[in-house]
C-alpha cells in the first residue's frame, strides 16, 4: 500500500446535448494504490460509469473529457494517444462489464475471446495462450475448463459467463481492473461467489480494482476506499469504515437510511427516503447539487461548497455544514 497506481485530479466530462452541454462529471479527484479496491457508489445518472469509461479511454468522440491530471503508473492518460491506450487496455488495465450476455461476442468461442488479448499484447503462441485460458478458467471455478474453450457464450449460464468475463480480464495479469456493476444481473448466491473470487484474486495478484456499483452492501464488504458520487461530483470519500460507520454527507446518511438493514431496521417500519429527483446537469451547475433534496439545506448551499475533513485519515466530504448537519441558529433555505 501507499504505492499509487492511478491518480485522477479534476476529471470533467461534458456531453453536448440538444440545447446545451450536459456536465455529467465535474472535477472529481481520486487515487488508487496498488492492490487497493476503490468502490464508486452512486445512483443512476451520477456519472460513475462515465468515469470508468473515461479512464479506459472508451468515451465516444463527441464527449469532451478533460482533467488536470490523470496518471496511470507514470503514464499521462490525458495526453495518451489511441495507440498508447490500446496497448494499456486489456493488458495493464482491463474492464469487467455488467451484462455478460451483451459484452461477450456470441459469434466467437469462449477460447477465441479469452486468448485474444494475450495474443495481441504478448509474444505467445496459440497453445500457450490456450493453456493460460484453461488455467484461468479453473482459477475462477469453472469445471471441465478445457472443454469450455470450444463453447459459445449462449451455452453458458449467467454466472458462468460472468466468470468467463473475469477470466478474460485477468488474462494479462492487469495491474488495474475496472468492474462496472459486475454482479448486478446475478443471483445473490452467485453474487457472493463472484465477489469473493474477485477479492481473493485481487489479493493474490496484488491487483488494484475500481468497483462501480449502486449496492451499498457490496461496497461495505469489498471496498478499502469508498467514493460516494452524486450528480457528477464525489460528495464523500474515505475508508469503508469511515464512510459506513461515520457518514458525514447528508446524501450518504440518506442512502443508508433508505435500505432495510437486517438486524437494525425494524421489520415493517417505514424506511427513510430522499425526496425529489436528481437535478438536471444541462447548463450551468452551481452550488451543492444535492441541495434540492437535502433536509439540511440553507441559503449558503447555492454558493461554492467547501471540502471538509472530519478529522480522521483521508475522510472528506463536501458540505457547507461543518458536521454535515445544519446548526440550530441557521434557518432552512
Amino acid at each position: 500500500m501507499g504505492d499509487t497506481l492511478l491518480t485522477v485530479r479534476g476529471l470533467t466530462i461534458n456531453i453536448p446535448v440538444g440545447g446545451g452541454t450536459l456536465h455529467a462529471v465535474r472535477g472529481i479527484d481520486f487515487d488508487v494504490d496498488r492492490g487497493e479496491t476503490l468502490c464508486i457508489v452512486g445512483e443512476s445518472g451520477s456519472g460513475k460509469s462515465l468515469t470508468s469509461l473515461a479512464l479506459m479511454g472508451l468515451l465516444g468522440g463527441r464527449i469532451d473529457r478533460r482533467a488536470t491530471e490523470m496518471q496511470f503508473d507514470g503514464i499521462d492518460l490525458t495526453r495518451a494517444n489511441a495507440r498508447t491506450m490500446r496497448a494499456l487496455r486489456g493488458d495493464r488495465m482491463s474492464m469487467i462489464f455488467q451484462e455478460p450476455m451483451t459484452s461477450l461476442n456470441p459469434a466467437y468461442t469462449i477460447g477465441d475471446q479469452l486468448t485474444e488479448a494475450l495474443l495481441l499484447h504478448r509474444d505467445v503462441g496459440r497453445e500457450a495462450a490456450r493453456a493460460r485460458a484453461v488455467e484461468l478458467l479453473e482459477k475462477v471455478g469453472i469445471t471441465a475448463a478445457a472443454s469450455r474453450l470450444g463453447q459459445y457464450p449462449h451455452q453458458l449460464s449467467g454466472g458462468l459467463r460472468q466468470r468467463v468475463m473475469i477470466a478474460m480480464a485477468l488474462m494479462c495479469e492487469p495491474e488495474l481492473i475496472i468492474a462496472d456493476e459486475p454482479t448486478t444481473a446475478l443471483d445473490v448466491t452467485i453474487q457472493a461467489q463472484i465477489l469473493r473470487l474477485l477479492v481473493d484474486l485481487g489479493r493474490e495478484m496484488n491487483m488494484a480494482m475500481i468497483l462501480i456499483t449502486h449496492d451499498l452492501g457490496v461496497v461495505a464488504r469489498v471496498a478499502d476506499k469508498v467514493a460516494v458520487m452524486y450528480a457528477g461530483e464525489l460528495v464523500e470519500t474515505g475508508s469503508a469504515s469511515e464512510v459506513f460507520n461515520a457518514p458525514m454527507h447528508p446524501y450518504t446518511r440518506g442512502l443508508l437510511r433508505c435500505i432495510p438493514q437486517p438486524g437494525k431496521t425494524e421489520r415493517g417500519a417505514r424506511l427513510g427516503t430522499i425526496p425529489g429527483i436528481v437535478p438536471s446537469l444541462v447548463g450551468g451547475v452551481t452550488g451543492c447539487p444535492f441541495r434540492t433534496r437535502c433536509d439540511q439545506v440553507v441559503d449558503a448551499c447555492r454558493q461554492a461548497i467547501p471540502r471538509r475533513n472530519p478529522g480522521s485519515g483521508n475522510h472528506e466530504f463536501r458540505c457547507v455544514h461543518e458536521t454535515g448537519h445544519r446548526m440550530a441558529e441557521e434557518s432552512p433555505a
Partner: protein, 333 residues
Amino acid sequence: MSDVNKDAPVLELRGVTKTYSVKQGLFGAPKPLTAVNDVTLTLGRGEVLGLVGESGCGKSTLAKILLGLEAPTQGEVLVDGERIDATDRRRLARRIQPIFQDPYSSLNPRKSIEDIVSLPLLVHNVGDAASRTKAVREILDIVGLPARVMQTYPSQMSGGQRQRVAIARALIMKPEIVICDEPTSALDVSVQSQILNLLGDLRSEFGLTYLFISHDLAVIEHLATRVAVMYLGRIVEEADVAGLFDQSRHPYTQALLKSVLTPDPGMGVPDTELGMEYPNPIAPPPGCHFHPRCPAAMDRCKIIAPLPIPTPDGHVECHLFDGDGPEPVRSIS
C-alpha cells in the same frame, strides 16, 4: 401479525404443478420440465408472502399461474375458497393484479397515463368516462402522483413515477391480491424505499394481500409476514418471517441468508458454501434436488426425495428434520 386472519385464506394453492415440454435441439425429443412441482400454499387476508429463490426456480411461473396467464398441469388455485380457471381470466383479473419489475417495459409508451391507468375500468365496463377520470385522479393521488401527470406519457416520467403508475393501474380495480414480481429491483436505492413504503401503506389502507417475489432478502425480511423458499419448483421451506430469518431450518435457506451482503464494513464477503451452479431443471438431481450443493448432504439425500415436514409455523423439506436426526431413517443398502 395481529391483522392476519388465518381462518379465511384469501388464496390457496393445492398441489399445483406446471410441466412444460422443452425441445432439446432441432430433432431431439421433447423433455418435460417441471417448473412448479406440487406447491401447496395458503395466504391469509392481509398477509405478505415473500417468495424467494434463484433464477429458474419457478417463482415467475407460479406468479403466472396465479394471474391466470398459465394453467396448472395439476392441482388447483382457490381465491376465497372458489376455484379459478384460466378460462375465466376477466373475473380473476378483478381480484388479482400484478406489478412487474420493469416500469420501462410494462407501460405502453404511446398511451397517456390516464389511458394506462383507466384501461382496466374500460375492459371491465366500469362507469362512464367522467367517473373513470375521477377514479384515475383518486388513485393517482393515493399513489402519490399529482393529477397533472394524467396527460403525460411514460417517457416523461422517472423510474419511480412509472412504478407508481403501475401500482395505480394494479389498484384501480380494487383487487384483493397483488402479485409483486421484483417491483423495486430496477429502481435506485432512494426510490426503492419510497415504493416499499407506499406498498406498506397501501396494504394497511386497503387490506391488500401481497405475493412478493424478490431476490433481495433484506427487502423480503422488511416487508413480508411469511416467507416461502423455492428450489427447483418446490417450496423447500415455509415459515413466518421471524421464524425464517431468526431460525432458518433448510440448508438452502441458510445459504441464501448467508449470501445477503449487509452494509457492514470489515465483514468481508461470506462463503455461501454453495459450490455448484444451479442445476438444469430438465434433468434435476435425484433424491433431494438440493443435495449436490448441500453442505449437510447425507447418503439418503441422494436417493430419497424428502417429504414436507410440518413445523410450528410452516414446513420444511429436508432429511435433517425427519425426526431421527442426521442418521438415516432406514438402511438404503
